[in-house]
């Protein structure tokens, strides 16, 4: 009979290949899918996250990490290929260009990462003269500002001041005297620049009368008066102002209406243009009427 009580195997005997009970259980445990997954992925993930967590828990280390990161970003952004050295403003005169430069006030050289081109464009477009602006970075480190300037269409007199106004009614700039921009028509009165479109069509309809037109005056923010030289005035209605003005022009052509001593042509009542004569004309009229009535009666 073989010994039943467990004994150490004599040295040199072949090792028993069978696993011990606990080793067997451990192997089976390790082969269980959930533990297998836990140990092969769960544990490393947990360990790495714990290490990272412990490292980051210290505020100084966090600061150092963020500083290092910022430095890295900084040094990348400051590389010469991203640096801008100059600004070129195209499409406007020198005076406006200076204004735009002062508005943008970049301290060159500057990295293109630090520029907010959209914001810069908005700032340039706030300059009165500028209608539209395009900012782009040209190769060679140049910030190009392409500007489309506003075109003045009229002079707007406000009290003593004279302003240049563009087609949309925006004030572009001031002028010293009317003579500086003699080619532009003049408008005046409260709310004149808000009805600029109508004013421009009235000017366009002037035709032969055009040399005599001094300007347009907005009356009570609702209708236009055309002021001619020799203190003549044409009072236009609120509606159909252009048509009424054209009628006056036609009348002037056919009957030399405006050549006569007429102070005011009142077109406000469309059915019946009304004239006010000048002083000499009125006196002459009275005289003639008296003659006629004296002779006739």
């Amino acid at each position: 009979m073989r010994p039943l009580i467990g004994q150490r195997e004599p040295h040199g005997m072949r090792h028993d290949p069978s696993p011990s009970k606990w080793q067997y259980r451990y192997e089976r445990w390790m082969l269980t899918p959930i533990y297998r997954r836990l140990i092969r992925t769960g544990l490393p993930v947990l360990m790495v996250s714990a290490l990272v967590g412990i490292y980051v828990m210290d505020g100084d280390r966090r600061q150092a990490i963020s500083d290092g990161y910022n430095d890295m970003v900084r040094s990348f952004q400051q590389r010469p290929e991203f640096m801008l050295s100059a600004m070129a403003v195209d499409g406007v005169d020198t005076e406006t260009a200076t204004a735009i430069r002062s508005v943008l006030n970049y301290n060159f050289p500057v990295s293109s990462f630090d520029l907010d081109l959209e914001e810069g464009r908005r700032r340039v477009e706030e300059v009165a003269v500028v209608e539209r602006a395009t900012l782009r970075i040209k190769p060679g480190g140049i910030l190009q500002v392409l500007v489309t300037p506003r075109v003045p269409v009229a002079i707007w007199r406000q009290g003593e001041a004279l302003h240049l106004v563009d087609a949309s009614g925006r004030v572009i700039a001031d002028v010293q005297s009317r003579g500086d921009r003699a080619e532009l028509p003049l408008i005046a009165g409260d709310g004149a620049k808000d009805a600029l479109t109508e004013a421009m069509s009235i000017f366009a309809a002037a035709g032969p009368v055009a040399p005599r037109v001094r300007g347009l005056v907005r009356m009570g923010e609702r209708r236009w008066d055309v002021v001619l030289d020799r203190d003549q005035r044409i009072l236009l209605p609120e509606t159909d102002a252009v048509t009424s003005f054209e009628r006056v022009v036609v009348m002037s052509q056919t009957q030399d209406l405006l050549e006569r001593d007429v102070a005011v042509v009142d077109m406000r009542n469309k059915d019946r243009p009304t004239l006010r004569l000048g002083e000499s004309g009125a006196a002459e009229m009275r005289r003639i009427n008296a003659d006629v009535s004296g002779a006739g009666n």
Binding site: D16, P17, S18, P19, K21, Y24, R25, E27, R28, W29, L31, T32, P33
Partner: protein, 444 residues
């Protein structure tokens, strides 16, 4: 009877659970080796599209993903002799197979090669309730079989219905739906030593494994090494193992008889060991390298170095002629085959229409065995190898693995057993309780 039902049904449920999980282990605890295969079930076979027939005749729904063999210890005559040793051998095999499969298995199906199986033919008949045979009638006719006296300490291993008769018609495989009056059945019952079975249970349980089924090794060897025609027409499978030789007879794809001879390859080795005065390990080596059963004139001249490491030069340098070795082996092999012949005769094998005999098992690899066997067993003898199953390593395809491979087929397609049919309602003690539960369910 009730207890048998319960254990077998519990094992069947365990098998279902294992199949649901898709993993099951096969454990063949033999006298000379312990083999463990890990099977993965992938559900129904995926269509291959190339031809209509699935590979391996539809047996490819599973795949062997782990296989391991280890030298068996503590097993004699196919029965557990030293439990600790056997347990360790099982642990070694299971652990290696698990390692190869890369997954843990909890359910095993085992086979029993010794344990003195005894076959009984049972018959029973009942009147059919109603016009046609229903599933319940089958349960009743199976329950009506008169139980033989198995003897003290015996337990039922298999109880398979093999034939149904309805009135005067016989040879029905499935009588359900047939019209008739009297249904009778023939059943094959295989009983084994309860103690041997319990010991194997115990060993497996001590390895933290759940038993999901148990089968006779003679039966599963027959499944794996008999081809379909042989199973259908009638054939015997002789599984020559290490410590015992299983005999099973198949007819109409059912096992109708099984027995085992308590002699095997290990006895041949023992004879060599005694005859040549060498240790068991050397005898085993000489047997596998030079063994045979038919001597020729050439074998007289072929000298075999016996070898050994006793330190005695005279003893270690002995030689023996191959004829002498064959002279030692042949009587024992003849004895085994004659014993098997006696079992076949007792079972009435000669009355079968076809008398094919298939030799398998590790000891069937002795050169010249088929010639010797045909002189003892009859002309229709062939050496059988187990069916190829998917994923089986080359090393495990030999006839020594007939039982292990048969167990894989058994796991995939188990035979209907007695306890798989619904027990007739009369024998339910809990019937009134069930009725009460049913009444509650119906009314609320």
């Amino acid at each position: 009877m009730k207890q048998l039902y319960e254990t077998q049904r519990a094992m069947r449920n365990m098998r279902k659970a294992a199949l649901q999980r898709g993993l099951i282990a096969i454990l063949d605890v033999g006298t000379s080796k312990v083999a463990c295969l890990v099977l993965r079930f992938d559900g129904p076979e995926r269509s291959r599209g190339e031809d209509g027939v699935g590979s391996l005749a539809g047996q490819s729904s599973f795949r062997v993903i782990g296989a391991a063999t280890t030298r068996s210890r503590g097993v004699r005559f196919g029965e557990v002799d030293a439990m600790q040793e056997t347990e360790r051998a099982i642990r070694t095999a299971v652990q290696a197979a698990q390692k190869m499969a890369g997954v843990r298995v909890d359910h095993v199906i085992a086979c029993l090669s010794g344990a003195r199986p005894r076959s009984y033919g049972l018959a029973g008949d009942v009147n059919v309730n109603g016009e046609v045979v229903s599933g319940e009638d089958i349960g009743r006719v199976l329950a009506a079989c008169d139980m033989p006296d198995l003897g003290e300490g015996r337990e039922v291993l298999h109880a398979q219905p093999i034939n149904f008769n309805l009135d005067h018609r016989t040879g029905m495989s499935d009588p359900r739906g047939h019209a008739g009056n009297v249904l009778s059945t023939d059943m094959h019952l295989l009983s084994v030593d309860a103690a041997a079975m319990q010991n194997l249970f115990q060993c497996i349980r001590r390895c933290d494994l759940e038993l999901a089924g148990i089968a006779s090794s003679a039966y599963v060897s027959g499944i794996s090494s008999l081809v379909e025609d042989e199973q259908e027409l009638g054939a015997a499978c002789i599984d020559m193992g290490g410590g015992s030789t299983g005999v099973s007879i198949f007819m109409k794809k059912h096992m109708i008889y099984a027995d085992s001879v308590r002699m095997g390859g290990d006895h041949v080795t023992q004879d060599i060991s005694m005859g040549l005065q060498v240790p068991h390990a050397i005898a085993e080596r000489i047997k596998t390298f030079y063994g045979g059963v038919v001597a020729t004139g050439m074998d007289d001249r072929e000298q075999i170095e016996i070898g050994g490491d006793t330190g005695d030069w005279e003893r270690d340098r002995r030689t023996v002629s191959r004829a002498e070795l064959i002279g030692i082996m042949r009587p024992r092999v003849e004895e085994i085959l004659e014993e098997a012949r006696a079992r076949l005769d007792a079972a009435g094998f000669e009355y079968l229409p076809s008398q094919q005999i298939v030799l398998t098992g590790g000891a069937s690899q002795i050169p010249g065995l088929d010639g010797l066997a045909s002189r003892i067993l009859g002309q229709q003898v062939r050496l059988g190898r187990p069916l190829r199953v998917q994923g089986l390593p080359q090393a495990a395809t030999g006839p020594a693995f007939a039982a292990a491979v048969g167990l894989t087929l058994f796991a995939a397609h188990p035979q209907d057993e007695w306890w798989d049919f619904e027990v007739p309602t009369e024998s339910y003690p809990s019937r009134s309780l069930k009725r009460a539960v049913k009444w509650f369910k119906d009314n609320w």
